[in-house]
Structure formats: C-alpha cells, structure tokens
C-alpha cells in the first residue's frame, strides 16, 4: 500500500538533512571533528565535562549552529512556499520569488533598514509590501482572459522589476557610508551575522506557518484542479487560496527580512521534490521542506567556506537556479506544442 504514514523516501530526506546540518557544524575555517561537535551539543542537555577549548564551544554553539538552523529554516520556507504557489496557481513555473513576493518584501525590509527600525517592524513591513506585490501580480494576470502559464510569470516579473526599482530608489537616498552598504549586502543575501535572537524571531513566525500549511496540505491537491473544479468538489477556492497566500507570504517575508532576497530556491526545489516524492501534496510539501532546508544548508556552507571572503547567497542560488529555470521554461513550451 502507498498510504504509509512515513514513506521511506521522506525518512531518508530527513536523515540527509540532519547529516548536512552536522557536517556544516564541522566545516569552516576552524575545522572541528564530528565527535567534538557531538560532545559540544550533548553538553547542552547532559552533564559532560568539557575537554575542549571554550573557543570550540563558541564556534559550534554561538556561530555555526544558529547559522545552520537559519539556513535550514529559510530553505524550508522557500521550498515549501514554491510548492504551495505552484499548486495554488496550477502552474509549475511560479514561486513566491517569481510572483514578486520576494522583491516586494525586499522593499519593505530595505525601507525599515533605511529608517533604522527594529526586527519586528522590519518583518511587518516586509510582509505588508510582499502582500501588495503578490496581489498586484494576481490582479494583472487575471485581468486578461488568458490562462497561459507564462502570463502569470510575466506579470510576476513586471511586478518584481517595479519593486526592484523602488528598492534602488531606497538605495539612492540611503547614506552611502552607513546605510547603503548595509542594504546592499543584506539584499544579496547572507546569513553571516545571524544570532540566536534573530533566529528565534523568525522561527516564531515561520514555524507556525509551515505547520499550518502541513495540516492543510491535502487541500492543495483540490485547489490545483482550478477554481471551477475545486468549487464543484465542495471547496471555496477564494477563501482557501487567500489563507495559503497569507501564510506563504508571511513566512517568506520574515525569511527575506532575515536572509535577504534569495531567488530560485522556491522554483527548483519543488521540481526536484516532485521527481522524488511525486506530485501528491501529502508527500510533496514535506519533501519540499526537507529538500529546501538541506539545499540551503549546503549553499550556505559553500558561501562561507569556498573562498576566504563570504559569497552572497543570492549569487550562488542564482547561478544554480537560473539555468534550471530556463530548462523548465523550455520544457513547458515544448509541452504546449
């Protein structure tokens, strides 16, 4: 029977994620053996006499751990958000990034940085502008009587470019010696300065969103049939879609506020997850969460270890994601004949 509660592939993915996180705790300029990492982690819950340098403790617990968990959380949010949007808009070419949520949230967060606002204000402002962006995209794409997959993607690019221009305007007025570099580095995407405190903030918003999406995920199958069929199947597609858009935008906005605008993850991860776990949301959503988390931990690992300087995350995900998107677009076109 295929209805098993924990399919082996999902278990394998979860174990893979744990392995990747552990590996990222060991790796870096200051290499630490897995055994030591284990003991440092265990000493948090059990009484173990430290045999290691206090520096090791700081590196593992204060520097690498919050960073690895943030990468996993951001990846989970982006992967899940992509899978949700693809089902919601019955379109395999979209993600919150493609539909302008990320650039929209970027504007809100950039404005907040410009005004020197705190974490909470930054997140709320990122959410508000993210919602405006995705609503605009949906409105533009809907007002044409054209259900082509590409129309929605084009509308998303239009809205995304518009918000990117507004972000440039914010950069233009920012103080070039203090605020400007701060905004630019944040926009390119980085988890370099993440601390436990910030991670806790983001987790408080995005974990409940992820959990709610997991609970509701079977409805995505029904919604992916299109509005008319969803209604015939006894669903109210307008309300349900709004719930999913709000949840996705909320968690995307807070992760944008934490890590900057990281593109392409939400587009590529669900496709790979679909290849492994199939299109049924009951497996696709958990698979996208696990795979997105592992992918971002790996990307962040490369970002901080590949060169002596940090490589911005947005650059790395773009180098991997853009060619993958081009491939998908081409395949979607040839499907159409």
């Amino acid at each position: 029977m295929r209805g098993r509660r924990f399919p082996p592939r999902l278990i394998a993915m979860a174990l893979g994620l744990l392995a990747v996180i552990l590996l990222s705790l060991c790796m870096g300029r200051y290499a630490i053996t897995p055994g030591t990492v284990f003991r440092v982690l265990a000493s948090r819950v059990a009484a173990i006499v430290p045999t290691w340098d206090p520096t090791v403790d700081t590196v593992v617990w204060q520097v690498r751990m919050p960073r690895a968990l943030s990468a996993a959380l951001v990846g989970a949010v982006l992967g899940c958000g992509g899978a949700v949007f693809q089902s919601l808009f019955h379109n395999p070419l979209v993600s919150p990034y493609v539909l302008g949520v990320s650039s929209g949230s970027g504007l809100g967060a950039a404005l907040a940085i410009l005004l020197g606002a705190g974490t909470a204000v930054t997140q709320v402002s990122a959410f508000a502008t993210g919602m405006v962006a995705v609503s605009l995209t949906w409105f533009i794409a809907r007002s044409r009587h054209d259900r082509s997959h590409v129309t929605l993607v084009l509308a998303g690019f239009v809205v995304g470019s518009f918000f990117s221009s507004l972000v440039s305007a914010v950069e233009y007025v920012a103080d070039p010696s203090t605020k400007l570099p701060q905004i630019i580095f944040w926009l390119m995407g980085s988890l370099a300065s993440v601390q436990w405190r910030e991670l806790r903030w983001v987790a408080c918003v995005s974990l409940p969103c992820l959990l709610t999406i997991l609970l509701l995920r079977w409805k995505l199958n029904v919604l992916s049939m299109g509005d008319d069929e969803a209604r015939a199947l006894g669903e109210n597609p307008v309300v349900m879609r709004l719930v999913f858009i709000i949840l996705t935008t909320m968690m995307t906005a807070v992760s944008v506020a934490l890590s900057g605008v990281i593109g392409w993850v939400g587009l590529v991860v669900p496709h790979v997850a679909r290849g492994i776990a199939g299109p049924d949301s009951r497996r696709l959503i958990p698979a996208s969460i696990l795979l997105g988390a592992a992918y971002m931990v790996i990307i962040d690992g490369i970002a901080r270890t590949a060169t002596t300087a940090e490589i911005p995350l947005g650059i790395l995900t773009g180098i991997v994601g853009a060619p993958a998107f081009a491939l998908l677009l081409q395949r979607a076109r040839s499907d159409r004949g």
Partner: protein
C-alpha cells in the same frame, strides 16, 4: 406500487445574465432519482451555463433551485459538494497525479479542513474505480491516459463525492464512437444502480434518444419542450432548435436523427 419521490433537483424560473445579455430565462425543470435528464440544444443555447448555475460556480442567478428539498442558495460550498457532483467538459492536467489521487479528491466535501483522506476514503475511491472498470489504472499518472479513460477518471471522482445529483457537461465531446457509448452506457447504468439523478448536456440529440429518460430542449436560454425523448425529439422541434432540415428514421423500435443536409 408507485412511490411518489421528491424530485432530486427542482429548478424554478431560473434566469441568468452576463451583464445586460440574458443567457437563461425562466427555466423550470425537475429531475428525479434514477432519471437521466438530457439538455439538448445548439451551441450557445445556455446549456453549460445552466450546469454552472447548479454547481454554484455562477451564483448570481434568479429563481429558485431545490436539491432534495433544500434551497441551493442556503447551502455551503461543502454541502453543495455533498449533494451535487459534476464532471467538467474539458480538463487540462497540470501535475501528474495518480488516478487514485485524483479520484480521492472527490472525498473533499466529506473531509474536514485539516483532515486527509484515510483508509475509508481510499476504499470508496476504489469502489468508484471498480464500478467504472478503471481500478487497474489506479497507480498510473492521469496525464498519460486517453480521452476516454480521463473521462472515466473524472466520473469516478464525481461518484466518490457520493452525491445524489450528477451533472455532466457534454460528457462525450472529446470521445470517439466507442468511448462515447461506453461512457454513456456507464452513466445510464449508474443512474439506475446508485439512485442518482443525472443531468447532462448533449450535443448530439441521438445521445438523448438512446440514453435519456427525459429530454429538455433549450434554445437561446429558454425551454422549448420537455418530456420523454420520443415525444419531444420530433422533426418539428429539432428543426426549430437547430435551424436545419432533419429526418427521424425508425425501424419500428429504435429511432435515429439525421440531418437532411446534402441529400
């Protein structure tokens, strides 16, 4: 003995307009359990619009519709899904769900917001697939099916809703000769066996002659005639409906409608 049942569907003075343009006016129709009601009419007569009003996909209609005695307007989306199931005229798959996953979606109106289909639902979906002879397709991606098979899958999904009213919008529009009769024969059989009231739109009046108990002739959004197919599908009515000369041929038992064009 005749048991006077309430109508499964009772439509009274149904009207619908897109802006200024009236698409349906003053339609009054009923459909009883076990009964196949065929809506016959030319393109753009409002046949599909009628079904969309009953599905509540279009909600700004006038008049009254009662489903097993309940006012359709008072029902929630979920309740409508429990009472009325429908098979769309065309369906473009986006994701390669398995046939079983698609059929299971019919359980949606019976499941709570956060619940997922369980063993009981899988069993109901299995029975629906067996009833239509597609159980061995259960694990196949539904993107790889022929038009006839896809139609049967969507029909199985509708059966899984366990509704008493089944709406079919030109169920044979994309099917070849064999599949067309296969699907219509199944529909006929299901109406009898599962106590369903079936309302289907047809583009070939012969489908109504062969498979329906009642035929409702619709032109320009208004009812022209309603009754048993043999009594209403007459040369006069058909010529009025389609605007071309037709003949109704018979071998004494069966009847067939053909266009007189080109003879």
């Amino acid at each position: 003995m005749d048991d006077p049942r309430p109508s499964a569907v009772a439509i009274e003075n149904l009207g619908f307009s897109y802006g200024e343009a009236a698409v349906l006016h003053d339609l009054t129709l009923t459909a009883a359990p076990h009964e196949v009601l065929a809506i016959v009419g030319p393109n753009a007569a409002g046949k599909t619009t009628l079904l969309r009003c009953l599905e509540m996909v279009l909600s700004r209609w006038t008049g009254a519709v009662r489903i097993e005695g309940d006012d359709l307007r008072q029902l929630s989306a979920r309740d409508v899904g429990r009472k009325i199931a429908s098979v769309p005229q065309s369906h473009t798959p986006t994701f390669p769900y398995t046939v079983q996953d698609v059929v299971l979606m019919g359980r949606n109106p019976h499941l709570g917001t956060v619940s997922q289909p369980g063993a009981h639902d899988v069993q109901i979906a299995g029975e629906a697939m067996s009833a239509l002879g597609i159980r061995d397709l259960a694990q196949r991606p539904y993107t790889q099916l022929s038009g006839g098979q896809l139609q049967l899958v969507l029909l199985a999904r509708a059966l899984t809703q366990q509704a008493r009213v089944l709406l079919l919008d030109e169920p044979t529009a994309h099917l070849d000769f064999r599949n067309r009769h296969l699907v219509l024969a199944r529909v006929r059989e299901l109406a009898d066996r599962m106590d369903l009231a079936v309302i289907m739109t047809v583009h070939d009046p012969n489908d109504a002659l062969q498979y329906a108990d009642q035929a409702a002739l619709v032109a320009e959004g208004a009812l022209v005639a309603v009754g048993t197919p043999d009594t209403v599908l007459t040369v006069a009515n058909l010529e009025l409906l389609y605007g071309i000369p037709v003949d109704v041929l018979t071998d004494g038992k069966r009847r067939v409608i053909i266009a007189r064009q080109g003879t």
